[in-house]
Amino acid sequence: MPTDHSLTRWTNIFVYTTSIMMLVNLYNIFIAVPTESSMGIIQRIFYFHLPSAFLAFLAFGVTFVYSIRYLIKRDMWLDRVAFCSAEIGIIFTTIVLVTGPIWARPVWGVWWTWDARLTSTLVLWFIYVGYMMLRAYTGEEQRGARFAAVFAIVGFVDVPIVYLANRLWRTLHPQPVIFGSPDSGMSPPIRNVFLFSLVTFLGIYLVLMFYRLRLERVQMELNELKRETAYS
C-alpha cells in the first residue's frame, strides 16, 4: 500500500492538467475537427466511443494483472487495486454501450443488433458486473478476494474476443480503423484529434483510479480501526 501525502501536490497538478485537456478535447471534437463526409456530425461520437473502449480494456487489463499478482503474493492491497480498476472499467464499458447505440441509431437505423462485437461487449459488461457482485456477496474478505481474482482472470478472456470480434466474424459494426487492413486508417486531422482524446481519457482513468484508491485506503484503515475497537 502506498504511504502518504507527498504525492498530493503532483496529483493536484495532474488533475488540473487533465481538466484542461478535457476542455481542449471538447473544443477539438465539437469545433476544430472537420466533419466526416459519409456519416456527418454524428461521427464525432467516435472521439469518445473508441477511447472509452480502449480504456475499458486497459482497466480490465490492470484487474487481470493485479489479480494474478494477488494470487501469487496474497497482499490485500493488490486485490483492492484490481477491484478499483474493474469498477472504473465498468464505467468506461457503460459509456461504450450507451454511446454505441446513440451512434448506431442514425447510421444503421437501429439502436442495437446482436452482432459479435456488440454482444461480446455486453457480455464483458456482465462479466465484470458479476465480478463486483461476487465481491459483494462473498462474506469472508480473503476468500472473496481469492474467488474474485480467479473470476477476473477467467473473465479477461472476453477482452481479446471483443477486440477481434469484427476481424473474426462478419459484423454490422465498422471494420477496424487502427491496426486494420492496409486500406483502413484515419486522415491526419481525425487521427490527431482521436489520439488527443485517447490521452485525455487515459488521464481521466488515472484521476479516477487515484481517487478510488484513496477511498479504498481510507476503507482499509477504517476496517483496521474497527478490528482494534472490537478487540480492545
Binding site: 471534437i29 456519416m39 456527418g40 466511443h49 459509456i95 477511498l215 475497537t229
Partner: protein, 70 residues
C-alpha cells in the same frame, strides 16, 4: 440542451455552411446525448466517490471518539 445546441451552431456555423451536408445537422441531438452520457457518468462517479469518502471520514471520526471514550 437547446442552449448548448445554439452555442455549438453559432461557433461552428461557417464549417457547417462549407464542408458538411445540412442533412447531417439533424443528428446533433444524438451527438449531444452521447456526450452528455459521458460527462454524466464520469461526474456522477466522482460525486459518488466524494460522498463515500465523506461517509467513511465520519465513520472514522466516530470510531476514534469511541476509542478515546474508553
Amino acid at each position: 440542451m437547446k442552449i448548448l445546441m445554439t452555442i455549438f451552431f453559432s461557433l461552428n456555423l461557417a464549417r457547417f455552411q462549407t464542408d458538411a451536408a445540412p442533412a447531417s445537422n439533424k443528428n446533433l441531438a444524438f451527438l449531444f446525448a452521447g456526450y452528455a452520457v459521458v460527462w454524466l457518468l464520469i461526474v456522477g462517479y466522482l460525486f459518488s466517490l466524494s460522498r463515500r469518502q465523506k461517509k467513511l471520514a465520519q465513520e472514522m471520526e466516530m470510531l476514534k471518539q469511541m476509542q478515546k471514550g474508553r
